[in-house]
Amino acid sequence: MPSFDPDTVSEIHQHLHSHLPSESALRVKALETVLVEKGLVNSQTIDAWVEAYSEEVGPKRGALIVAKAWSDPAFKASLLGDAVSTIDQLGYLGKATAHLKVVENTPEVHNLVVCTLCSCYPFSILGMAPNWYKTAAYRSRAVRDPRGVLQEFGVEVEDDIEIRVWDSTAELRYMVLPERPANTDGLSEEALAALVTRNSMIGTDRNLQANV
């Protein structure tokens, strides 16, 4: 059972700092070896998890959700009203999305998602978070200088557009519904999904383009 005692854990961290090898790969290998020998994990199961997040669970799920919302007003209303049961119908409800909210970009509003305290992310619909999302630079600046952050991503947001930053401080998770690009009438859901970038669902991309 855990001690729930911060002083105990701080002391463990000091020992780990002093005695673990510096190289991350060796550290993780040591952890896997000990857990396998203790009967707490199976290395083949680890292979399967890596494959699942490399091949199946990723931002293409979120892109399909966006494409469906662009194509079907009833789906969009359902997604904005109750994202959890809406993504459940697609089989995408899962890791970190039991309290999902979808926030909509409009000509007047741009949404940006961050977790300043750790790295909370809606894994079952967007897969692994990009590294930049987990860096001190993004976490510190997204709430304070969102326009500067967006500029670095090549996104200019006019002064009269309101920026809404969502800091994931509890167990709710956020996905941005970007605006549908112009000149995409009649495209299939699959073709629309191909226009959706991962960053547009986090909020570090805004003006999606139709393929030309």
Partner: protein
């Protein structure tokens, strides 16, 4: 806890690497660390917030300087050692000091995808007590918090905000990190950027945080 992890609004970290290659994992060990986190056993009594607190307790220099999933290795290792699953000596030697125990049966990717679905953990709980605030109410956040785990970031303490949405009662993170499950009403609270940052006086931007009632006072 006033730790290095509480990064919102801190300055001096420089530009963001916007040209990162879009791949799920940037090294094999990152994927293996993620996977260990998803399927490892031996975590009786752990809570998500206790684990977050164990990650926050990493030496601040390591927290900032070492790679992201390296901090997961250290947080999981420390939490396992704290629980008695293995010892400091065993992880330093990268070897169990006992004869190996048969691991759980392997599962395939199809089963993993079902497990991902079963990880839709809900944090809402019934609470008879009626919520103190309604949408549109003006609040002020607590200035004094706790030296233990909390999810009220430093930049939003003692600040005025408005209740934007109500989400029912969720397990209170501060108590959860200490092993007790206590529901508390939770709200999305909207803050004007100009109330948070000196340089944002002319801006109409807003910052939204999901905050428990225990963090809030009527304004």
């Amino acid at each position: 806890m006033d730790g290095m992890h509480d990064l919102g609004g801190k300055q001096g970290f420089g530009p963001i690497d916007v040209n990162e290659t879009e791949v799920p994992f940037h090294a094999d060990w990152e994927g293996r660390m993620w996977a260990i986190a998803q399927c490892g056993r031996g975590r009786d009594g752990w809570t998500i917030d206790w684990w977050r607190h164990c990650r926050e307790l990493i030496d601040p220099v390591d927290y900032l300087a070492r790679p992201y999933f390296d901090s997961w290795m250290q947080a999981y290792t420390a939490t396992y050692i704290d629980s008695g699953a293995f010892s400091l000596e065993e992880i330093i030697n990268a070897k169990s000091d006992q004869p190996p125990i048969e691991p759980p049966a392997a599962i395939d990717t199809r089963q993993v995808l079902k497990d991902v679905q079963s990880q839709a953990t809900r944090f809402d709980r019934p609470l008879a007590q009626t919520p103190q605030f309604q949408i549109g109410d003006r609040i002020i956040t607590n200035q004094l918090t706790t030296s233990h785990h909390t999810r009220l970031p430093a930049y939003a303490r003692g600040k005025p905000g408005i209740i934007y949405a109500y989400h029912g009662a969720h397990i209170f993170a501060d108590a959860c990190a200490q092993g007790s499950e206590r529901p508390d009403h939770i709200y999305s609270v909207v803050f004007e950027a100009r109330d948070l940052w000196p340089e944002a006086q002319q801006k109409n931007d807003r910052v939204f945080l999901d905050l428990w009632e225990s963090y809030l006072e009527s304004a």
